[in-house]
Structure formats: structure tokens, C-alpha cells
């Protein structure tokens, strides 16, 4: 079963255009995508904005966010033209204040006023689809390329349907609220069903975001299948278990229980397994999503590598810890650069196919809330 799956996975890689074919297409019709940011320059931006954020007790964070976003957008050029981030700090600040209030309510209900938790959770379930729609729309609206902004037209109802399609998440939430999980088998089944359906859920969410996003009158098209997502997640589970098994064998074989610092020795390989599984999922999902997106005349090729990503994550973590955090800008820049270097945009016909339409403004509150609650919906 296990071998078979990995084998399938390798086959899936081959299903994509082979390497020469791919390179040829990129060479002939690829548009140059380049990231020119440098760690040294970004360090100054990062530290100055962090300092101002700390001494203003967080109020400056809206400016800090805009400055950092602008840095990444401005240094990312496609066919010689940089992307633009258009949001203004005051708009972001407004959203942040709303998000901070909601976060405070959530935090205090989970930590201090636990009797309020059920109401807060239900309210959270109701506003979550709205938060997602608003934030994606905000990001699209304030992202521009060649003087034309992106758009996101997903509605609350559509978002609600995508997130709660099988009713699994609400079921788990409601079950938790009313403490049904005293019945262990019910909880077990609910979580198992959720775990199995999760890849399709992720796929549908990505599909929703891609197909409702448009640029110059063309909506994104998405052809990735849920089966592939499922295999990626399954392999990641095997990776995690594999590392756990190896650790157990080593510990038993060398009779290492009770040795000094034994806890740390046990945790290291398990942590390595977790990092690698995480890198694997990130890499495969990112690659598939981009490779299966079409936007008008544009196609994308994403060629991230799991091992290289894992190496990046590990070296980043070591660098950040060893430097007490001062290498965070370096880590962010090199990761961004690696991702850009492995993303290719192919123009099949002409950019003239894109035509601008009327634009409208979107409230910033949604975008801020997702950041606060750390829901990374990036594709």
C-alpha cells in the first residue's frame, strides 16, 4: 500500500510535461519573473518598522504591514514591471482595530470566561466565511500589475457552502460546544471523517479562491483534482509515522531511555519528520495549485522541490534561533527568492486579451482578521 502510493506519486510527476518540453515552453513563451529584494535592505525596513511598532504599542503595525508588503511587491517584477501594493496604512489600521477587538473576545473566552466560549464559537462559525471573502477581495483589490488591479467576486453564500459543505467542521464545533465527545466513538468517527475529507476540502477552498479571482476580465480556471491532494496528505502522514518509527527503534535498540537529555534526543528525529512532512505538503500543494491554474492567456509552472524546501526551513530555523531573531529578514528573503525562482509564467498568446473593468473599494477589516487569526490562504 505504502510503496504503491509513493510510486503513484512518482508517476504523477511524470504525467506533467517532461523536463525538456517544459523548459522549451518556458524558454519560448515564458515571461521573466524576478525577485530583486536583498536581505540587507530588507533588514533595515524590518528593524525600523518593528522598532516603531514596539514603541507605539502596536499602533504603527498598520504602517509596518504596508511597508513590508510594498517591499515584496515592488521587488517582484514580471516582464520588467513591478507589482504594486495599493492599500493605505489608515485603511489597514481601521481593520486591525476591529480584528483586535474580535481577537480579544476570542482569546478571553478561551482563557478566562470559558462559559462564553460556545457563543463566541458559534459567532465565529457565522462570520468566518465573511472574513475569508473580505480578506481575499481586499488583497485582490489592492494588488495591481501594470495599472490594473485584481478582483475577487466570491460571495458570502458561496464561501459558506465551500467551507461547511459536508457539515463536518460545524459538527465538530457543535459537538465540542455541547461536550458530546464524552462518547469516544462519536468523536473518533467525526475526526476520522474530517481527516479523510480534509484534502477535498482544501482543494475546494483553493478552487473557490482561484475561480472567483479575475484580472482584466479573465477569471482563473482550476483543474487540480481532490485525489491528488489526498495522496499528498496521505504521504505526509506516512513520513511523520516513518520518522516516529525510526526514533522508537533507535531508542529501543540502543536502550537509551534514562540517558541525560534523552528527551531532546527523542524529540529531534520526530521534529525532523514533522518539518519534512510539512515541507512536502507545502511543496506539492503549491506546485499542483499553480500548475493547474489558467488565467486568460497565462499558464504557470511551479517547480519547488521538497528536499530543498525542507533544507530551507531547517536552515532558516537554525539561523533565526542562533541569531536570536535577527536573521528573520534573511530567512524571509531567501525563501521568497527560492519560490520566485521556481515559479514560471507562460504567456500563450497576448497580454492584450486582458481588459480593465470598473473597480470598487473593499473594506479592509476582512483582510486584517485573517492575518490576526493566522489563517494562511495563500496559493
Amino acid at each position: 500500500m505504502k510503496n504503491n502510493l509513493i510510486f503513484n506519486n512518482l508517476n504523477m510527476l511524470k504525467d506533467k510535461p517532461n523536463k525538456e518540453g517544459k523548459d522549451e515552453l518556458i524558454q519560448q513563451q515564458g515571461m521573466q519573473l524576478e525577485f530583486s529584494g536583498s536581505a540587507k535592505e530588507y533588514f533595515r525596513i524590518w528593524i525600523v518598522n518593528l522598532c516603531l511598532t514596539i514603541i507605539t504599542f502596536g499602533f504603527f503595525s498598520a504602517w509596518a504591514k504596508v511597508r513590508k508588503k510594498r517591499y515584496f511587491y515592488s521587488n517582484l517584477t514580471l516582464d520588467g514591471t513591478p507589482f504594486q501594493y495599493l492599500a493605505q496604512p489608515i485603511t489597514i489600521l481601521k481593520g486591525r482595530i476591529i480584528a483586535a477587538i474580535l481577537f480579544l473576545m476570542y482569546y478571553s473566552s478561551t482563557h478566562y470566561f470559558t462559559t462564553m466560549l460556545p457563543y463566541v464559537l458559534v459567532a465565529g462559525l457565522i462570520i468566518a466565511p465573511w472574513v475569508i471573502v473580505r480578506s481575499v477581495a481586499f488583497n485582490a483589490r489592492y494588488s495591481a500589475y501594470r495599472n490594473m488591479t485584481f478582483r475577487f467576486d466570491g460571495t458570502y453564500v458561496e464561501s459558506f457552502r465551500v467551507i461547511y459543505a459536508w457539515g463536518i467542521i460545524p459538527a465538530i464545533a457543535v459537538g465540542t460546544i455541547f461536550n458530546w465527545w464524552g462518547i469516544y466513538w462519536a468523536a473518533g468517527i467525526a475526526y476520522a471523517v474530517f481527516a479523510i475529507l480534509f484534502p477535498w476540502w482544501v482543494r475546494n477552498l483553493k478552487n473557490f479562491i482561484v475561480t472567483k479571482t479575475s484580472y482584466g476580465g479573465h477569471f482563473g480556471q482550476f483543474s487540480a483534482s481532490g485525489n491528488y491532494f489526498f495522496q499528498v496528505y496521505l504521504v505526509s502522514v506516512f513520513i511523520t509515522f516513518g520518522f516516529g518509527l525510526i526514533t522508537t527503534i533507535i531508542v529501543r535498540f540502543f536502550e537509551m531511555e534514562g540517558m541525560p537529555y534523552s528527551n531532546i534526543i527523542f524529540i529531534m528525529p520526530i521534529y525532523a519528520g514533522y518539518v519534512f512532512a510539512y515541507a512536502y505538503v507545502q511543496t506539492k500543494i503549491t506546485n499542483t495549485v499553480w500548475n493547474q491554474i489558467r488565467l486568460g492567456p497565462l499558464r504557470f509552472r511551479c517547480t519547488l522541490n521538497s528536499f530543498e524546501m525542507a533544507e530551507l526551513y531547517l536552515t532558516n530555523a537554525i539561523g533565526i534561533i542562533a541569531s536570536a531573531g535577527f536573521l528573520i529578514p534573511w530567512a524571509v528573503i531567501r525563501t521568497y527568492k527560492y519560490r520566485t525562482d521556481n515559479t514560471h509564467v507562460i504567456n500563450m498568446t497576448e497580454l492584450k486579451e486582458f481588459r480593465a473593468s470598473e473597480t470598487e473599494t473593499v473594506q479592509a477589516a476582512g483582510a486584517e482578521m485573517t492575518e490576526f487569526f493566522d489563517m494562511d490562504l495563500s496559493i
Partner: protein
């Protein structure tokens, strides 16, 4: 600086299709003329808006129709109307290495002061506003949870011994400001083993296992004196508050690295929380030593039971900076030193 007759080479985007057109911008008094291919457009100078400076990347000038002009960054652009004025100053700071170096110093000082003085001070003043009933209900919640989930079972200690300990315990905390709220609960817990806890609100839980391991009631009281110290100083609720502040601060600082690794963002919070926890343990130890002395109990009782606990659990001293408690041998040493000093 006079901007009249200045010429800027760049790229023009009409805002209708994403095509880049090479263009030239010529300034003349209050007007500016754009030439691109056969197109010539004229705009009023005060209606232009320039995008903020970002590193050394190109900047964009919004024209009063839907058009936009892209050119390399140059000082002359600062004389035109700015899209976001406040960012100009920030960009000025960002471009100076001296400001960056100063920022490092300010951040380190701010974190240092906030961490050692600010957060404990704020937490202290905040707990004055938290009614003890709210805190007690949180404590009851925790105890109920431990009871329901079988972490705690009914105590096997016989009633006489419980009564005897209870009496001495009540005498021990008599006269303290938290005294009306301090309660003692006996619980059996094979899973937790010999231990004692001070819950928010003043409830102290002691496991049967610690009563069993103690060779005298004085040893049990020594442990309880330490827990009374936690209760009197409201350490549990302060730990929750200070931990929340630390988490908030750490999230702000490591926000950029959040997507890179959760371990990186989790680590500073763990370090901060355990440091506060060790401070509280030390404070509770000191409190206990004084309390024991006032009740004519030797701190040697504390030292001896701690020694036995360490031996029984067979644990090796953990790395002190990730531990929630100070190194046990140090605590034992401090108890003995206190004892010697008092008997001199």
C-alpha cells in the same frame, strides 16, 4: 530645486490594457507633458500622485485620468504631491543604516524593560481589578476538569490525618490577606504522582502521593507553605496574564517568520513563560521560608522533602532555562542556607 524643464524617461500604462509603453515626461511650470508614441497628454502638476519610496525600486506616478507612469526613483519625485505622506518619513528612516542600528538598541532596551519590569507591573496592577470570585470560578473550572477526566481521584488519606494537616494548614495561613480564600483539597493521583498545586482563586491541591512520601507532617506543611506563597501572591492568575503578554509580544516580533516555522515563533514564548514561572517559584520559596520560620518550623523540612522528591523521581537536572522550576539542588541549598542563617 526647480523642476521646470526636467525630463523623466519611463514607462506608461493606460490602465485599460496591461501593455508597457516607453514614454517621456516633461515638466513645465504647473504642467507636465507625457509623450508616448503618437500620444501626447498634458496634466496639471498638483493633480499627480507619487507612490511612496520603497528601497530602491521604481516609483509610480498616478495621472489624473486612469493612466500611470513608472520611472526610477529620484529626488525630484519628492517635490510632487505624495500618495501617502506619512510613508515618506518612514522611508527616510528605512534608508539609513544609523537608524537601523539605533532601532536594534531601542528594541533590545524596550523588550528588556517591558519583560523584567513592564509586564510584571502591569499584571500586578491588573489583578487588583480582577475580582477574586472570577479568579475562584476559573480555579473551580480547572479542578472540576481534573476530577472529571480522572486525573484526580478521591483521597485515600484517613480522616484523622487529613484533619490534623488541615488544622496546621489553617494555622499556617492565618492572618494573610488571601486567607479567607485559601482552601486545601486532598486528591489521589497515580498519574501525576507526588505534587501540589495552587489553583487560581486560592485553592491548593495536594496529592496523596506527597503525603505518603513525607516522613513528618512538618514536611507536608513545608510544601504547603510554598503553595500558600503562590496563592497569597496570586501567581496563577499573574502567570496567565504575563504569559498572554509574552505571547502577544512574541507574535508581533516573529510575525514575518510565522509561515516559515512554528517552532521559531513558539520558542520565545516558552522561554518567556518558563522564566516568569521560575521567578514565581523562587518568590514562593522565599515566602515559604519566612512563613515556616514564623510558625517555628525548620526549613530543613523543606530541604529534606525536596531532596527525597528529586531522588524518587530519579530525574536528571534539566536544562535550567527551559524548565518551569529552578534547579532543585539550588532550591534545597537555599532552604538550608536560610536555616543556618536563622540558627546563627
Amino acid at each position: 530645486m526647480n523642476i521646470t524643464s526636467t525630463r523623466l524617461e519611463g514607462t506608461y500604462y493606460d490602465g485599460k490594457i496591461p501593455i508597457a509603453r516607453p514614454a517621456l515626461l516633461v515638466f513645465d511650470n504647473n504642467e507636465v507633458t507625457l509623450t508616448s508614441g503618437d500620444t501626447t497628454l498634458t496634466y496639471a502638476l498638483h493633480k499627480l500622485h507619487v507612490s511612496p519610496r520603497v528601497g530602491n525600486t521604481d516609483r509610480f506616478i498616478s495621472l489624473s485620468d486612469s493612466g500611470q507612469y513608472q520611472c526610477t526613483d529620484q529626488p525630484i519625485l519628492d517635490q510632487l504631491p505624495q500618495e501617502v505622506r506619512s510613508e515618506g518619513l518612514v522611508a527616510w528612516f528605512e534608508n539609513r543604516m544609523s537608524v537601523a542600528v539605533a532601532s536594534v538598541g531601542i528594541i533590545i532596551c524596550a523588550l528588556f524593560i517591558g519583560y523584567f519590569y513592564g509586564m510584571p507591573l502591569v499584571a500586578k496592577s491588573m489583578i487588583k481589578r480582577i475580582p477574586i470570585e472570577t479568579e475562584a470560578s476559573l480555579g473551580n473550572h480547572i479542578l472540576t476538569w481534573f476530577d472529571d477526566s480522572q486525573w484526580f481521584n478521591e483521597s485515600h488519606i484517613d480522616q484523622d490525618q487529613q484533619g490534623s494537616i488541615m488544622n496546621k494548614f489553617n494555622k499556617l495561613h492565618q492572618g494573610l490577606s488571601m486567607s479567607p480564600n485559601i482552601k486545601l483539597e486532598f486528591r489521589n493521583s497515580e498519574r501525576i504522582g507526588p505534587n501540589a498545586f495552587a489553583l487560581p482563586g486560592g485553592t491548593i491541591v495536594i496529592t496523596d502521593q506527597i503525603v505518603d512520601i513525607a516522613e513528618s507532617e512538618e514536611e507536608v506543611l513545608a510544601i504547603l507553605a510554598h503553595e500558600i506563597g503562590h496563592a497569597e501572591r496570586r501567581h496563577s492568575i499573574r502567570q496567565i496574564l504575563q504569559g498572554s503578554f509574552a505571547a502577544l509580544a512574541a507574535t508581533t516580533i516573529t510575525a514575518d517568520a510565522a509561515s516559515l516555522s512554528t517552532a521559531v515563533t513558539g520558542l520565545p514564548v516558552i522561554l518567556a513563560r518558563t522564566k516568569y514561572s521560575r521567578d514565581f517559584e523562587r518568590e514562593a520559596d522565599d515566602f515559604a521560608f519566612d512563613l515556616l520560620k514564623r510558625n517555628h518550623i525548620s526549613t530543613e523540612a523543606f530541604a529534606s522533602i525536596m531532596e527525597r522528591l528529586a531522588k524518587d523521581s530519579g530525574s536528571i537536572e534539566k536544562l535550567s532555562f527551559v524548565s518551569t522550576h529552578p534547579v532543585t539542588s539550588k532550591r534545597i541549598k537555599r532552604a538550608r542556607e536560610f536555616n543556618n542563617k536563622e540558627s546563627d
